[in-house]
Amino acid sequence: MNRLPLPGEAPGTTPVPGFLRRLGCRPLRFTTLLLAAMVLLPLLIVMAGWLQVEAEIWQHLSETVLPELVHNTVVLLLGVGAGVFVLGTSLAWLVTAYEFPGRKWLEWLLMLPLAMPAYVLAFVLISLLDFAGPVQGALHVLTADLSWFPQIRSPGGVIIVMSLALYPYVYLLARSAFLSQGRNALEAGRVLGLGPVASFLRVALPMARPAVVAGVALALMETLADFGAVSVFNYDTFTTAIYKAWYGLFSLPAAAQIASILLLFVALALFAERSARGKARYETGRSRPAQRKQLMGRRAWLAAGFCWLVLIPAFLAPSAQLLVWVVETVHVELDAKYLSLLENTLLFGAIAAALTLLASLILVLTLRQRDEPVTRTAVRIATLGYALPGSVLAVGSMIAFVAIDRRVSDWVLQLTGEQIGLLLSGSAFALIFTYVVRFLAVAHGAVDSAFERVRPSYSEAARGLGARDFEIVRRVILPLLRPGMVTALLLVLVEVMKEMPATLLLRPFGGDTLAVRIYELTSEGEWERAALPSLTLVLAGLLPVLLLVRRTTRDPQ
């Protein structure tokens, strides 16, 4: 299967066929450096917020707001980290090591929550579980006193919802790691007297550490970048504080300062990921895949029950609730406006996906042509975008593009006397730019791992059979790359469709998308009406997930 990408991950270095190496090296190298600069530009601008510190506001922030933000963020990271770790690894272990009723279905059903944006899951689960919701309503029939019912709008509630939305990252990676471990190590453990729990904790889990750490890190990046879900919960984190400083305190510099502290957390998370993953590489050999152990009776039902216990609140119940709302509201919501939103969403997604794919191909080719420290660092920086919250990137790019626009239009005015207005920031350009920067890592991961399959020997063999360069690309290399490229396109398309904070900030005239609509409706409490755009996003999100499912079930390694 295609590995999920990790920001700033050390890129692969399998050399490309000789003639690709002869391709113009300088333009590729230049483009790679440019891509790195594209990521750095908004970052530096955000950092520049420190150049104008407003003393009174800063004092207030540091005394009253920051301690709470740091506390909330640490609680959230620890909670979600633990949540996705426990859910992801235990579910992956159950479906790979045991056989129980429904296991075959659950194995791929458990990937579906990947299609549910965290902010959608948040408002649907709150409405299901809060006091006015159907769950408490049903309980009311049984008992009058519901004071024992836990408050869903609480730190615990945010942690549970985010864990349910993000555990698939860990599940996917841990599952393929467990599958590739083979039978030998586990059998050795069993011979040495390890029970089932001990062999999971002491053999399988340590061997899967790099994959698990990578999954948890991805989930934590998403947590740090989340804006939609925490706003629904009214749980204050850095992303909500950025908006509050901007709108409430009227201070964009203060917003930029908070954003840069958020970046510090991102850097810490990246660093922790690097060191936790360690240098260890486990030789798993080519041993036979492990036999699943058949669970019987109560244990089998417990295992299946646990999987459903996660799947129902993470995907099935919310989808059902969305569907009910869609049926109730479709006659008002399904109008020309919805169609134009859908069109915008798909258009932005398609353009961004194509450009991102192109950019990631360039990154991969550059490094495989010549692996030098400069380009290596540039690729690392260029794929950092995934770790950067959309709101941070958006503020940075907006300031940058408006400045560029003003220069350019001044210049054109001097040269020609024409007023050209704001070309970049006033159009979709700034938004598409931000999408590319933010999701380059997503495409890069997929393309990079596809390139692993292009062995130089293939093209040499083809050449030996008399094929020319063009034919080699068309008949050997492209077919090998195609699955990775399709995955990259789909993943970026869906990420762009879901993207909320940057879209809110940078969309051009008439450029509303489904995510924008969801934000508008949920922030006014019109949750039922947000169901149609939400369900659309979920369905779109299912596309890459189903592709992933098909590929993983066909080729378990």
């Binding site: 408050q151 706003s231 704001l422 922030s523 409490g525």
Partner: protein, 354 residues
């Protein structure tokens, strides 16, 4: 219920009179001033609006049909829109900036992105408390932020003032929306204007101490909590109450108007409004649109679409709104809500209002 009249402070009758006098005198204006208001309807009026699209589009459509003018608009949150106008500077395509909340309007004027409309018609139509003293923005509709209570658990007499909700008798009985919402920020800002910072902080701390559950992300959910009996009373904008009532008319909820005593503060009012952008290409078009929006014909629709109160008192209320009864409105200038907003935000942070 009896037919009700909304009174909005003592100055209003006088203003109305002054307005009609001005309107009459304006109709006899000299040619020079007519030139100033000459409108070229072939030129687009570009509106940046933080007021939701479905609330402005019907009016714009009507205006375009009536006058043949063209309007293009962009809706977004007020922060990005303002930042965009600022960044675009003298290249901005925007002619009219339309937003909700006095704080946002004040901020736009303070940042220097708006120009004086210099329109006697607007000065006459919009009461002084609901516009900028220099004519850089005008309120176009009013929303009161008032109390909604559970009719099974509270008697309306108990709800005499905003400050009263800080009383320990409301412990565990109050629900609030997040302090991140600008409506709460404006409310607290005007409390600072009236009571001073220390007293306001005491009141807000009292509210926070009385909360039954953590603050909600929107007014509707807070009202539903009151209906469910999670708490007994909450603070909301009236049109949210109207929307909820329309959807579920049987909820045990009702509106109470605080501050109605002889020496009471009156009900906190906020505005949605608009101002002409400083570097507008089509300032004349924007002015004409703004004047039309403040005209009696447009006012009823502008307010009615969102179950708000028209900014002019000579316009009939939406029947749903009229049913909520008459009340005394606060007469503080809403512009001060903007000036004091950062102070209010910091105060709410200190008081622990999430």
């Amino acid at each position: 219920m009896h037919r009700s009249v909304v009174t909005r402070g003592p100055r209003f009758g006088f203003l109305l009179l002054a307005g009609s006098v001005l309107a009459v005198s304006m109709s006899a204006c000299s040619g020079k001033e007519e030139a100033q208001t000459a409108v070229d309807h072939n030129k687009d009026v570009v509106v940046y609006s933080a007021r939701a699209e479905h609330l402005i589009k019907p009016l714009f459509t009507q205006y375009m049909q009536e006058t043949g003018a063209k309007i293009t608009w962009l809706t977004d949150k007020e922060g990005p829109l303002l930042e965009r106008i600022k960044a675009e500077g003298d290249r901005t395509p925007a002619d009219l900036f339309m937003t909700v909340d006095a704080g946002n309007l004040w901020k736009a004027a303070d940042e220097g992105v708006l120009q004086s409309a210099d329109s006697q018609a607007l000065d006459a139509a919009v009461p002084e408390a609901y516009r900028d003293s220099e004519g850089r923005w005008y309120g176009l509709s009013l929303r009161s932020r008032t109390l909604v209570y559970n009719t099974n658990k509270v008697k309306p007499e108990e709800l005499s003032s905003y400050a009263g909700l800080a009383d320990p008798q409301w412990k565990g009985r109050l629900c609030l929306r997040t302090s991140k919402k600008v409506y709460n920020q404006s409310l607290v800002a005007l409390m600072i204007q009236r009571f001073g910072e220390a007293k306001t902080e005491e009141i807000v701390r009292g509210w926070v101490a009385n909360l039954a559950v953590p603050p909600f992300s929107n007014d509707t959910k807070a009202m539903q909590a009151v209906a469910e009996g999670v708490c007994d009373v909450t603070l909301v904008n009236t049109y949210y109450f109207g929307r909820l009532q329309k959807k579920s008319p049987d909820l045990p909820l009702a509106i109470a108007w605080p501050g109605q005593a002889e020496d009471g503060t009156g009900v906190h009012m906020n505005v949605s409004g608009a101002g002409i952008v400083k570097h507008a290409d089509n300032a004349a078009g924007a002015r004409a649109l703004l004047e039309w929006l403040a005209s009696p014909a447009a006012q009823a629709k502008f307010a009615g679409l969102n179950m708000e109160f028209p900014v002019r008192a000579d316009v009939a209320l939406d029947p749903v709104v009229a049913r909520w009864g008459s009340f005394k409105a606060d007469t503080l200038r809403v512009a001060d809500a903007g000036r004091l907003q950062p102070q209010a935000v910091m105060l709410m942070d200190r008081a622990g209002w999430k």
